[in-house]
């Protein structure tokens, strides 16, 4: 630990019970990205789920709009230590998208326009835990926050909630994604503070 700078407090660390360990509260919505913001015209947008035996399920933007949506209000936690409470989204539960998918795969690799990837166990995408979100706080999801649509998986660190999401590949073997291959934790539970590999 370094020398203490007199009078420096830094961001207020939370004592709020809704804040996972090591997190601080923000009221703005920080934008973090690992590359240029992809611009995806809605008439060319698609979302796919590829099963472990090579079958592809595909949704156009119009298909997505016809599906029943939900309006989850959730707390989100970024691995860079900010948390934002009561964020209001609209999107389609992945349970709906997975209804017609036959698969016994245990692992999912989520991929995005622009090349980003992240991995999760399939069970973390089901049972009301994940959404394909296309509206935030009453407006269409802005490109810098992942629009037209992003994944929303709020029970794990927010890097798992892939922006500009394009599809999911279902896999028998786990395959680590973009940050998971560069030191970040494979699962990323904020309540167990699983930030880095080995945490």
């Amino acid at each position: 630990m370094g020398i203490i700078s007199r009078g420096f407090q830094g961001r207020r660390r939370g004592s709020d019970g809704r804040l996972p360990p090591g997190q601080y509260l923000v009221h703005d919505f920080p934008v973090l990205s690992a590359g240029p913001t992809p611009r995806v015209p809605l008439d060319r947008w698609e979302f796919t789920i590829d099963t472990e035996d090579g079958r592809r399920h595909r949704w156009s933007w119009q298909d997505l709009m016809k599906l029943p949506s939900e309006t989850p209000t959730v707390d989100i936690h970024c691995v860079t230590k900010w948390s934002k409470l009561d964020t209001a989204w609209q999107g389609v539960s992945l349970d709906v998208l997975f209804e017609e998918v036959e698969s016994a795969a245990e692992y999912a690799l989520i991929h995005s326009y622009g090349g980003y990837t992240t991995n999760l166990p399939v069970e973390d995408l089901l049972d009301g835990k994940a959404w394909l979100a296309y509206r935030y706080d009453g407006d269409d999801l802005a490109p810098e926050h992942g629009g037209p649509a992003r994944l929303l998986v709020p029970h794990v660190y927010f890097w798992k909630s892939a922006k500009w999401v394009r599809g999911i590949r279902l896999l028998d073997e786990d395959e680590p994604g973009f940050w998971e291959t560069a030191g970040y934790h494979n699962y990323g539970d904020p309540w167990r503070e699983q930030r880095y590999e080995g945490d």
Binding site: G2, I4, S5, R6, G7, F8, G10, R11, R13, P30
Partner: protein, 241 residues
Amino acid sequence: MRRLPWRVARLAESRWENDSARTLVLEVPGWPGHLAGQHVDVRLTAEDGYSTQRSYSIAAPADGERVELTVERVPDGEVSPYLADVLEIGDEVEIRGPVGGWFVWRPDGAAPVLLVAGGSGIVPLMAMVRQRRRAGSRTPFRLLYSTRDPGRRYYAEELRRPDPGLDVTYVYTRAVPEGWSRPPGRLMLDDLAAGGWPAEFAPDSYVCGPTGFVERAADLLLSLGHDPGRVRTERFGPTGG
């Protein structure tokens, strides 16, 4: 073997450059010296052990154990409001560096130099201006300095004083002083053509500022025929302050 160490830096002097930018003169025992254009990491640690760090360009050439930074207060920032408003003479922070070996100017350079600054991008370029003066270099310098309005300038007094071989041109993007002939507006080709060097002089150009400014200035220089290999750029974005 020792990794680049954190060193204790004590605030020895400070001055305001305008109402939101403060220059900090730090005394850093063991400082190895630095080149004009290099930067440092500054680390702050709170009593409970929480710590965070930011990068700042060095504003003046090497002077023993003195390291001079100019810090712009970012509203709602975490580090810059502390450095601007809380840090007092005698207080300590930690710094690490110097780092960076590409965006640097050495006084032995013979080519004429064009400096293009956008906002607080002036800081590492000012280190070059001061380095040139201190070294008694005869390398001709031209500085093109774009700010929102005259009140946002840094180092205004110093840049007003005669410094033979240094030409300074201001570009104001929002508001101009009375009687100023150029209307407010972003950097244009004419500004670089008039305030810079002709491409055939083969100048070394250093461009520093926010990303959009740097992209634009570098594109304009290339369109004027400057050699891309002689145009060095440094961008800074929203750092979180």
